[in-house]
Amino acid sequence: MGKDRRFRIAHREALIGVVLAIFNFLWWYGFAYGLGSKSPEEYTYILGFPAWFFWSCIIGFIVMVILVIIVVKFLLTDVPLNDGREEQSE
């Protein structure tokens, strides 16, 4: 196989996965504990949910879906997975 071009692409895509997860964690943690640490009487509510939960879990989820769609559409590359040989039969 040698230095396969496909592996360079795969390494880059794995890195994208790590970056996405770190971003996801920061968003999730930041809003949950940033807005959620005050006492419950001071909570503001958005569309019926406490603000910390709305931003961390609901918007956070939607943001991740949008980011994944962007990554798939613009950053991932189509590559063939076979080495041009067929599955061996036993």
Binding site: E13, N24, P40, F53, G60, V65, E86, E87
Partner: protein, 481 residues
Amino acid sequence: MNWDVLVPLLLFLVIIFLIGIWSNNKLKQSKSFLSDYFIGSRELGGLVLAMTMVATYGSASSFLGGPGAAYSIGLGWVLLAMTQVATGYFVLLILGKKFAIITRSYNAVTITDYLKGRYESSTVVILSALSIIIFLFSAMAAQWIGGAYLIQSITGLSYISALFIFAVAVLVYVVIGGFRAVSVTDTLQGVVMFFGTLLLLIGVVIAGGGLDQIFADLTAENPNLVTPYGNDGNLSALYVSSFWILVGVGVVGLPQVAVRAMSYKDSRSMHRALIIGTIVVGFIMLNMHLIGVFARPVLPGIEVADQVIPLVALEVLPGWLAGIVLAAPLAAIMSTVDSLLLLVSSSVVKDIYVNYLKPDATRKNIQKVSYGITGIIGVIVFLMAVQPPDFIIFLNLFAFGGLEAAFIWPVVLGLYWKSGNKYGAMASMLAGISPYIAIHFYNEANGSLFGVHTVTVPVFISLIAFVIFSLLFKKKIKLNY
């Protein structure tokens, strides 16, 4: 007996049998029995790939235990559950195309096959096959017990009859249909979970008098229920964050999930699965855990928290709709069990029988052995679930976290670190499992070590072991990529 509820459930079982028969027909036309039976000839499309990953992972624990915990603990547990959104994209991006390419070039149909090709060591093969067989066997038995309880609580049948129905239903389609039947039924089950949780959430919100009313009731009962810190204020940010390892990124190391990352047809299927998987896993987790929290004002005082979902479904929905919705947790359990059953069977057949006992087996022979072993394992699990022995319960405690700690680095670093070798892999597997068990007991006795979930420390220990032992024995172990 409540026929309104039962008819949709029975219909669901019939469809699953039909999928088993259809898969068996495709199996007969395939070129390679092993590859078709255990990974569906690597031809999963995007939707099926996404659904089978989500469904395999979303088990009884997340479907009955999760909402139950949310019922007792409050919104903090929903926050914890949302760490699982990461599984939707992380596993497929990290293992990614490289894993698909390399497992194809090894002709691997199990994780053990991949480790065998990568490390060329029979010790690694045996360690891997044994940990899969022991841990997943126990995990499976625990899920069967969950499935039987669920059928029991819906139908009012005795535990044994419920278990029997469950066992027959699962065994028939897994034994005759193999991986293709499992992944296609997973897709159906994923769809049922997706819409089932949505319907039930809407039902609960209406029954609770709208979101404002529900949150007002929760705050009136105990303001901690709407904070991220749990009903008694003890759910620390650090502890919740450590679930990112257990149910978020660590899932890469679960053999039943990783094996799916070698089964897709082409890179376009993988791209589609990334989007669908992230949406479906996030949606299901958010909905079903919110149902748990919202059920509190609607049905206060439920004693066995695991029964929250069945009880609330029967309470807020008309019978026939409750039947459809309750197919969802049943689907969740079945879709986890079927994958585990097939994985344990593939470990016995491919990793042990074909590797060591009979390398020159013919197709007919392998076929007979595969059906036989899958069936026999199913029967043994059934017998164990009739009266669960203590060691099953005991091993199940370690199953997921222990396997993650054992497999994550040999799989991931095997892919991305050239100097990783068999000594690193062996050390890492042993160093993952043993501290896991030790820390489990420490935590039981003294509270969580460093305030994090049991899985956290062993994952780091096994990383260090992998790196140190790989470097220590860095010899002329040559790789061709």
